[in-house]
């Protein structure tokens, strides 16, 4: 059963008619971690706000838990947990007070649903008397997650929960999401980090208000028909310039400390590229096959 289903969802802002979301359709099944992956301005937050009944779409429909986001907003608000992209708790209240407040607002108590947040809360419990505004970025997000979870929602909407969080906390955060999934909670999460995409069950790659591709991360990676290589040379700048000059090469772009070279399935062979680079006078060339990541697929989709 689809817990969330969006059909042709469109959001247009203001007098200038800026289209933030342009006819987006997707479904999310129960107990799934669904990721909206894309850069800033891709329309992730707008989609979240429409699904959490905070904004009305200009066009299209969507349901959450089988309820219409426009008509049944009151019931939807009882069943979902929402963690906005910006830290949205009371900074002058302590960790404990924030949690108790949100528990009461949703008509429950911390005690009642403690099991659900226990794993997360244990990590911030030593600071429970500290004001929320004085917490570190990662701890703030953990607290916000606790507050969004405290009423045991059916669907959890997390808008860029790991933005501005250190790598260790990010990893922990995703482990928590995996555990929540086992409790049967459906999770929609957005992130600008491509490396987090593989941690989702299914992802939607987004750009400028449209979805480029929806699939499991592995399927998206497998679908890439090109051969991908990672190259290094003494002069990285020259290497990139030289690669881009050759029109037989489908694509080349910096990727960490390497340059990724994309070769179309039936085009120029890697050996030819290597000898081309040597001809052009590049030295200390290191050439290897690269494992395809979601980011490579995203770049490929952007170019099409």
């Amino acid at each position: 059963m689809d817990v969330v289903s969006a059909h042709n969802l469109t959001k247009i802002y203001g007098k200038d008619k800026v289209t933030a979301v342009n006819g987006v359709s997707f479904t999310v099944s129960k107990g799934e971690i669904f990721g909206l992956i894309g850069p800033d301005g891709a329309g992730k937050t707008s989609i979240f706000r429409m699904l959490t009944t905070l904004l009305l779409p200009e066009n299209g429909t969507a349901t959450v838990g089988g309820l219409d986001i426009q008509r049944d907003y009151k019931q939807i608000r009882k069943q979902i947990g929402y963690m906005p992209g910006r830290f949205s708790l009371y900074t002058d209240l302590t960790v404990e007070e924030n949690l108790n407040f949100f528990a009461t607002v949703f008509g429950t108590t911390v005690k009642e649903n403690y099991d659900l947040i226990k794993d997360i809360y244990i990590q911030i419990e030593p600071f429970k008397k500290r004001k929320a505004g004085k917490l570190s970025g990662g701890m703030k997000q953990k607290l916000a997650l606790c507050c969004a979870l405290i009423h045991k929602p059916d669907v959890l909407f997390l808008d860029e929960p790991t933005t501005g969080v250190d790598p260790v906390s990010r990893k922990e955060f995703w482990e928590m999401l995996k555990r929540l999934k086992t409790q049967g909670i459906t999770i929609l999460v957005s992130t600008p980090y491509m490396d987090e995409a593989v941690l989702c069950d299914r992802i939607a790659l987004m750009q400028k208000g449209t979805i480029l591709s929806i699939n499991t991360p592995q399927a998206i990676i497998n679908k890439l028909p090109d051969r991908l290589f990672a190259v290094k040379a003494g002069n990285m700048y020259d290497l990139l310039r030289t690669l881009q000059r050759n029109t037989n090469i489908s694509g080349s772009y910096s990727f960490g400390e390497y340059v990724h070279v994309v070769l179309s399935p039936s085009g120029i062979s890697p050996e030819d590229v290597q000898s081309y680079l040597q001809q052009q006078g590049l030295t200390e060339i290191e050439w290897k096959k690269a494992t395809v990541t979601v980011e490579d697929c995203f770049i490929k989709l952007l170019r099409e």
């Binding site: 706000r49 959490t52 009944t53 905070l54 904004l55 009305l56 907003y73 009151k74 608000r77 009882k78 979902i80 929402y82 906005p84 910006r86 830290f87 949205s88 708790l89 009371y90 900074t91 002058d92 209240l93 007070e97 108790n100 407040f101 949100f102 009461t104 607002v105 949703f106 008509g107 507050c147």
Partner: protein, 368 residues
């Protein structure tokens, strides 16, 4: 109900953890009442004057000692030449000079008329008028005492009584004004800011995506300020009675009841502002420019409304403080009952209902 109480408790946390809020809530009323009560007064007290007494006889001595006895004047020094008087005025130290010519008592006794010259510094006309009135009154009184045993053929004696405020103390008109001002500030501005703050920091986004009803959010926001304003009224009244010697002539219960009505009117106005604005800056500007200024200018507390141009008189009708000012003067100073103020109470009630209805109608259940 539990949700509501939790929300109210949270609001109290906000108030008590923010020093600036606390200062505005409690420091300001006390500071204002003390300032208006003691420092900013339109009474003329202890004006410095000089006296040039060329006669130095029984009559002038008696008049001078009467002047000295009143707390309105402070006699600076005895002066011997008119030139000195001019110098004193130029120095700006004295407000008035009094000159008795020679043979004052003799003239009075034998010619039945004597002259005294009063010179006042009219660069401040209000002060000049006031001090000359005071001095005329003192001289008249002296003359009256002289005539007590005589039988004059024709005489009209005017007997003036200043009702409700016999000593014409300015505190009496200031305190109601300060109350109107402080409550306006606390209720309108603080409520508006506290609600808009939630919008600005994004917490409203989370509250909207919760089962809380909009009505409940607004009410829970207003309750703490209602309570705190109530404490403010009591503080102001206690201070006015204990420190400024202001009498409360009417029923205290009625006074508190009408003040509460005014508080609720202000709160609903604050709520309305918070709903119509989206940043704390906007809310503050509107509360200050749109509410505070009219309250000071058009409520009749600083300037009498009767003297204003018709346009301003009409505008003053939509200022809640104007009606509160009328009510509170009637109850506190004139000691009148509900029968005398029901019309004004009705108007304030109407305003409150209007603000609340518009607020509820325009509360957004979504972000935009």
């Amino acid at each position: 109900m539990k949700q509501f109480l939790a929300f109210v408790r949270k609001e109290f946390y906000h108030v008590f953890r923010d020093r600036r809020t606390l200062f505005i809530l409690f420091g300001m009323p006390v500071a204002q009442i003390l300032m208006f009560g003691f420092a900013l007064t339109n009474e003329v007290k202890d004006s410095k004057i000089v006296i040039m007494d060329q006669s130095q006889d029984r009559a002038t001595q008696q008049i001078i000692s009467k002047i000295e006895a009143s707390h309105y004047f402070k006699i600076q020094q005895n002066i011997v030449s008119p030139k000195q008087i001019e110098e004193e005025f130029k120095k700006g130290k004295i407000k008035m000079a009094l000159i008795f010519p020679s043979n004052f008592y003799n003239d009075l006794m034998h010619l039945h008329t004597a002259e005294v010259q009063v010179i006042a510094d009219a660069s401040d006309p209000n002060v000049a008028t006031t001090v000359t009135n005071y001095i005329s009154a003192i001289i008249l009184e002296y003359q009256h005492n002289l005539n007590l045993n005589l039988n004059l053929p024709y005489r009209i004696s005017t007997e003036i009584r200043m009702l409700y405020n016999p000593q014409q103390k300015s505190v009496h008109s200031m305190v109601p004004g300060v109350m109107a001002l402080v409550l306006m500030l606390v209720c309108v501005m603080m409520t508006a800011i506290s609600i808009v703050k939630e919008k600005e920091t994004g917490t409203m986004e989370v509250l909207l995506v919760s089962p809380l009803r909009p009505m409940l959010i607004i009410l829970a926001k207003a309750i703490p300020y209602l309570l705190l304003s109530f404490i403010n009224i009591l503080t102001i009244l206690v201070l006015s009675v204990a420190l400024l010697g202001l009498p409360i002539n009417g029923s205290i219960l009625l006074l508190i009841a009408v003040s509460t009505l005014y508080i609720i009117a202000c709160l609903s106005l604050g709520i309305l502002i918070s709903i119509k604005t989206s940043t704390q800056q906007d809310a503050m500007t509107i509360s200050l420019m749109g509410m505070l200024l009219p309250t000071v200018m058009l409520s009749g507390f600083m300037f009498p409304i009767e003297n204003m141009p018709v346009v301003l008189q009409v505008i003053s009708n939509i200022v809640p403080a104007k009606w509160f000012n009328i009510i509170i003067k009637a109850v506190m100073i004139k000691g009148l009952g509900f029968g005398a103020i029901w019309k004004e109470v009705l108007i304030l009630t109407g305003m409150t209902i209007f603000f609340l209805v518009v607020s509820l109608k325009s509360f957004k259940i979504r972000l935009a």
